[in-house]
């Protein structure tokens, strides 16, 4: 008990050899440039970049964000400069860092997804793909990919066929049975899961009596959704054998621990970056002492501790 434990934060996920389990979540870190003004991005375990689509997208009209209790709504609408621009500029810029890149991809049609997946997977800077089948802010088709297991599985299979890199599927929480969905995409060849994306929500402006967001509905993120994320990860991690990148409301090192105990192998931090630009390095710095306090020496010792009955320590 009293000997000093050598704590290792390393996590080895398909395509993502991470020096610690912390990455910024897609869409909450753009392509890293803005946060590079605050700290060295090499500190991060990985970086999930903003969703790429085939064509450049402007996204939704503004207002695009609204605050809620312990959360926020966003309806960005996948604004991005398109896969070609991202490869030519954003990924090139990221070459100066060693941190593995998880490239989030989105689309309205299967063809779009395949086009983007094939291209991005060939980029040397990309460690793995993250298939965003769950963006609530895109009107055409987006939702079906995320809520119908067969549709999600078939998309996953096709993306796997064209991708040279491991594929993570990012699951939507706007669904009755997350386990069936997770098993379907595992069966279809997914190398990992990211969960959860945002819950579909809305807020009214009391003065105008209209929705605050121009898009009316938006995705709810932040601490408010954490219990839903923990529950889903707890359920899914016991039903699948591929690793899970957990996210949804993480604001502190203890939140991270909860996700790992629930069954996530690594975590992503979204909304909290907007509150505190230094949140990722802060949590990374806090991890070793918290692990020690729990008398654990690796991150893996923690993964799924809430349901694993016997664990070799």
């Amino acid at each position: 008990m009293n000997e000093t434990t050598e704590v290792s934060l390393k996590v080895d996920l398909p395509g993502l050899p991470m020096k610690n389990p912390i990455m910024p979540a897609s869409g909450c870190f753009a392509f890293g440039q803005e946060y590079a003004d605050f700290y060295d991005l090499n500190q991060l375990g990985a970086i999930a970049i903003k969703a790429a689509t085939r064509e450049p997208r402007f996204g939704n009209p503004t207002p695009r964000v609204a605050e809620t209790r312990a959360g926020m709504l966003n309806a960005i609408g996948l604004q991005n400069p398109g896969v070609d621009h991202i490869m030519a500029h954003e990924l090139r810029w990221l070459e100066r860092y060693e941190t593995p890149i998880l490239a989030n991809i989105a689309g309205s049609t299967i063809e779009d997804y395949l086009y983007v997946a094939e291209k991005l997977s060939q980029d040397a800077r990309v460690g793995a793909l993250e298939l965003n089948i769950s963006c609530p802010n895109v009107k055409e088709g987006g939702i079906a990919f995320g809520t119908v297991p067969d549709v999600a599985a078939s998309l996953t299979e096709k993306v796997k066929a064209v991708s040279e890199k491991p594929v993570y599927v990012k699951l939507s929480p706007n669904i009755a049975d997350i386990v069936t969905m997770a098993k379907a995409v595992e069966q279809a060849g997914a190398d990992g899961l990211s969960m959860i994306n945002t819950l579909l929500g809305m807020r009214m402006d009391i003065k105008t009596m209209k929705p605050i967001l121009a898009n009316k509905m938006g995705g709810l993120s932040g601490p408010a959704i954490k219990p839903v994320a923990i529950r889903m990860i707890y359920q899914v991690s016991q039903a699948v054998s591929i690793p899970i990148i957990g996210m949804g409301g993480i604001q502190s090192v203890d939140d991270c621990l909860e996700f790992l105990m629930a069954g996530a192998s690594a975590v992503a931090i979204g909304t909290a970056n907007f509150v505190d630009p230094f949140i990722c390095p802060k949590i990374i710095a806090d991890l070793p002492q918290r692990l020690e306090a729990l008398k654990l020496s690796t991150i893996e010792d923690l993964v799924g501790r809430s349901w694993k009955t016997c664990v070799t320590v």
Binding site: F29, F58, T62, P223, F274, V275, D276
Partner: protein, 260 residues
């Protein structure tokens, strides 16, 4: 350089109905580059107001490491902010954005500063900076009514100041554009900050002078990462090109971006 700092409140007072003047002290002040920049405040450490609030710099005193913000109590965040006391610390991210180009006016030239409501504050810092550079400043300030008007004397000390109010309770009754027309105010450059309808009216009524507009949008990150605060460019109004108000703005040259 942008930074995050817990700045100390050294002055905080109500200067008009629901309008507060807040002076903060801290190292961050040294990094402020120009009028029109803003700071992003975290009102609570908790979850009442999860995301930060953008507020413009209304005055800066680098020697004293002080900056002043003027804000209206609008919703929950500003209400909670208004309850903070001298000595309390506020978590500030800043300075952010690109402000008003001072170089657009040359020494001896004339600048017209047009503000509406809580768009007025950044013009005070701007006016002081222009005046220091030897530029003649004229102000046209619009308020809903005399009850919510502020800083009239402060502006008058810098240059001619015209007031307009919706209900006529202070200055002339009407909008700032009415005043500009009526008084036939001309200038080499116009700087404006205020509600979008005001900015649009200026764009229409002052097509000939260089005009700089400070825009507002609901923000999350404030630094260009979340894409909450974008606007279309006028060269590609329906397309995918855009500007981020927090990072590319909040000040744009008229004609550069589409006003929401």
């Amino acid at each position: 350089m942008k930074q995050v700092e817990k700045m100390t409140i050294i002055k905080h007072r109500c200067i008009a109905e629901n309008i507060y003047e807040l002076t903060l002290q801290g190292e961050l002040v040294q990094s402020i580059e120009e009028p029109g920049q803003f700071v992003h405040l975290r009102v609570d450490n908790g979850y009442e107001t999860l995301i930060r609030r953008p507020i413009s710099l209304a005055n800066v005193n680098k020697k004293a490491k002080e900056c002043t913000l003027i804000y209206r109590v609008e919703g929950e965040g500003t209400t909670r902010l208004s309850l903070k006391c001298v000595g309390d610390r506020v978590d500030v991210l800043g300075p952010l954005g690109h402000g008003f180009p001072l170089a657009a006016a040359s020494s001896g030239g004339r600048a017209l500063l047009v503000g509406g409501g809580v768009g007025v504050p950044p013009l005070y810092y701007l006016s002081k900076a222009l005046k220091q550079r030897g530029i003649q400043v004229t102000h046209v300030l619009g308020f809903a009514s005399s009850a919510v008007a502020f800083y009239e004397e402060e502006f008058r000390a810098l240059g001619p100041t015209y007031l307009a109010s919706v209900d006529g309770s202070i200055g002339s009754q009407g909008f700032v554009t009415d005043v500009i027309r009526k008084e036939n105010l001309a200038a080499d450059v116009i700087y404006a900050c205020g509600p979008t309808p005001m900015l649009k009216a200026l764009e229409v009524s002052c097509p000939d002078q260089p005009l700089y507009l400070s825009l507002e949008e609901r923000m999350a990150c404030g630094i260009g990462a979340c894409m909450a605060c974008v606007c279309h460019t006028q060269t590609d109004p329906e397309g995918s090109s855009y500007k981020k108000i927090c990072k590319d703005g909040p000040v744009f040259k008229a004609g550069e971006v589409v006003l929401g």
